[in-house]
């Protein structure tokens, strides 16, 4: 803490100066969107975008086109082939094979498809359910808010892994189970964030103005509140993709997630566990994929948060 080196209030001049996008007659100076885009933040995280695109999205969409190997059935004769640059490696299996002779690269590509599907579905469910409840709680307050807040608190304090294990033990692992478990755990973070944003948007003067104009509550929610919490939603969803991938991998790793022989990255890491010292590539590449994708998504989310910050668009007043 330093009393004298307080963060000075400098917005007045910087922002006012930025705000003066007028020519001398008071007409605003309009800039083409690409200029605004590139000027608003010149540090676009291209590497992260590249990683997410080429490790997650493209493989997931084009798996059948990219590779001809079967992700589920291997050639036992070729089992435990090392990556191509090592002795005994072959370019038929660029990243080697596992102990059942399945191509690691192929399984990674199909694994991306699982990761992307699971995260898309769970985030869609989580975002829709969570933000609806959050909007209602934040906007209407009263008992709705108390109930939803209580639900959020409860769900955020559930031990996810334990819950997953119990459910899987009871009904067995399946794609639907894992999606349901993850969706149940992530809606609460959406609800909490949206509720908070809604609370502050509700108190703004433009919402008061809309009330005075006679706009109905539902219309205010849709036209005034939702667009102004949309940024937060986008950022949160991006960050949550990483969380979901991590959670799905962890659950799959301990056997409570995607059932074998499906090539989830988490399952692959688990499969290579006992060979880690000899055939390290079985666990290493899926692990690397998880690390790269989750890290990139987090960086991308952080950048999006800054990029979409309304202050960058609609500059604050002094």
């Amino acid at each position: 803490m330093s009393v004298r080196n307080q963060p000075a209030r400098f917005e007045s001049d910087t922002d006012e100066a930025l705000e003066l996008n007028f020519d001398i007659q008071g007409h605003p100076v309009r800039r083409p969107w690409w200029k605004v885009w590139s000027k608003r933040n010149n540090r676009v995280p291209w590497v992260s975008i590249f990683v997410v695109l080429f490790v997650l999205v493209l493989p997931a969409l084009l798996a059948d086109v990219i590779t001809t190997h079967d992700p589920l059935r291997g050639v036992l004769a070729d089992r435990l082939t090392p990556p191509f640059w090592m002795e005994g490696g072959t370019t038929t299996y660029p990243l080697g094979t596992d102990k059942q002779g399945r191509d690691i690269l192929t399984r990674l590509i199909y694994g991306a498809r699982i990761s992307l599907t699971v995260s898309t579905i769970t985030i869609l469910i989580g975002a829709v359910v969570g933000s609806t409840l959050g909007l209602l709680a934040g906007y209407f307050g009263g008992w709705v808010d108390r109930f939803v807040s209580w639900l959020i608190d409860t769900f955020l304090s559930l031990p996810h892994v334990l819950l997953a294990l119990v459910i899987v033990a009871a009904i067995g692992p399946s794609f639907v189970t894992i999606v349901a478990i993850i969706a149940v755990t992530i809606w609460a973070s959406f609800a909490r964030q949206v509720r908070g944003e809604t609370l502050s948007v509700r108190e703004t003067e433009y919402v008061a103005r809309a009330h005075v104009a006679g706009t109905t509550s539902w219309r205010i929610l849709l036209r005034h509140v939702l667009p102004n919490v949309a940024n937060t939603l986008i950022v949160l969803a991006t960050l949550q993709v990483g969380v979901v991938i991590l959670e799905e991998s962890s659950l799959s790793f301990i056997g409570a997630g995607i059932p074998r022989p499906n090539p989830s990255w988490g399952v692959m890491v688990a499969d290579g566990r006992d060979q880690i010292l000899i055939s390290w590539w079985i666990s290493f590449f899926p692990g690397l994929c998880i690390l790269l994708v989750v890290l990139s998504l987090n960086l991308l989310g952080d950048w999006l948060r800054d990029f979409l910050d309304p202050k960058m668009r609609q500059r604050g007043r002094s």
Binding site: N5, E16, L20
Partner: protein, 344 residues
């Protein structure tokens, strides 16, 4: 008329030797949209015990000028690119950051507009005052620091100072918080105090009390005060001299009575005529049309010309030099002699 020093000011001879002398100060902001010339060649001097008012609208660069004086321009966008700030005979801009920390508080201090932002909400007032004192006296023991803190609060007339030291900012009213900020700024009796909009966040009755307090502090310690404001009322209440700032530069400077009675720059006049009066029923206010120019893309001529009712071609083509009206009063306007006052 002095054509040879277009940026400078015609300096009156201050009553005492100047404690602060600013020469051709330039502070630019490097933003995404371009270079903003927030302070673009400002000069003035200030004697001890004197109060200078700097009046301007938002975007005139007045806050950036204030921050430049204490070298707290926002990093990395803001840079002091030229000029000198002579404080007690040495150039503040040449000091190292460490030396500057010593100077801040001891020789020059600052009060910001919003006490809410100047106090850290998680520390008690006592802790924050102690911190301010420790910056300069690292070896003081707790008891002495406590005594000094109590004295500092007493100097700004805070009732029950011992009890107040234990309070947190949220337990106090805005006026009380601003007094605490004042106490911190004045704890080491600096020779210069920069007050940036010190009362805009305060209520009418509290505002008057606070301005009274500043005057009182000045009488006791002889501190020179720079009041930065948009409000001519604050100027009328507290200042000896006034400088009017527009688009990064001073356009008129002079003793407060002369500025109010015989403003020479059309912008000063327009500002004075655009405010409603408490003590007079006005039928129609003068308003200034248009917008101030962008500080990124400034015109070559007078910066006010596009909004000025008296502009001639020369105003657009050539930046006006300072025209001396009296020894202490000058305006940067080609037509300062011809413009009628009060306006018809």
């Amino acid at each position: 008329m002095s054509l040879d020093q277009p940026m400078g000011t015609v300096n009156d001879v201050p009553r005492t030797a100047p404690v602060l002398e600013v020469q051709d100060l330039r502070t630019y902001l490097y933003t995404r949209w371009g270079t903003t010339k927030a302070v673009d060649g400002v000069s003035f001097s200030l004697g001890s015990g004197e109060t200078l008012g700097i009046v301007g609208e938002s975007g005139s660069g007045k806050s950036m000028l204030a921050l430049s004086l204490v070298r707290l321009t926002p990093e990395p966008a803001g840079k002091i690119v030229g000029g000198r700030v002579m404080l007690n005979g040495r150039n503040v801009l040449d000091l190292t950051d460490r030396q500057m920390r010593e100077v801040r508080g001891k020789e020059i201090s600052m009060i910001l507009q919003d006490p809410q932002q100047s106090l850290n909400p998680v520390f008690s007032v006592g802790d924050q005052l102690a911190e301010a004192i420790r910056v300069h006296d690292r070896d003081l023991d707790d008891k002495l620091i406590h005594e000094r803190s109590v004295d500092a609060l007493k100097s700004v007339h805070v009732p029950a100072p011992e009890r107040r030291l234990k309070n947190f900012p949220h337990q106090m009213s805005g006026g009380m918080k601003q007094r605490i900020v004042g106490a911190m700024a004045m704890a080491y009796q600096p020779q210069v105090l920069v007050a940036d909009e010190p009362t805009t966040a305060l209520d009418v009755t509290i505002q008057a009390q606070y301005l009274r307090l500043l005057k009182d502090l000045q009488e006791r310690t002889g501190v020179a005060i720079i009041v930065i404001t948009h409000d001519f009322g604050v100027i009328a209440e507290t200042c000896d001299r006034v400088a009017v700032m527009y688009a990064g530069r001073f356009v008129e400077e002079g003793p407060v009575e002369q500025i109010f009675d015989h403003p020479r720059h059309p912008y000063t006049r327009a500002l004075l005529e655009s405010r409603p009066k408490v003590d007079l029923k006005s039928t129609r206010l003068q308003s200034i049309d248009g917008q101030p120019p962008s500080l990124i893309d400034l015109p070559i001529g007078c910066r006010f010309a596009a909004r000025c009712a008296y502009a001639i071609e020369r105003c657009l083509a050539e930046y006006p030099p300072w025209f001396e009206i009296t020894e202490a009063h000058a305006a940067a306007c080609w037509r300062s002699e011809e413009v009628p006052w009060p306006s018809p």
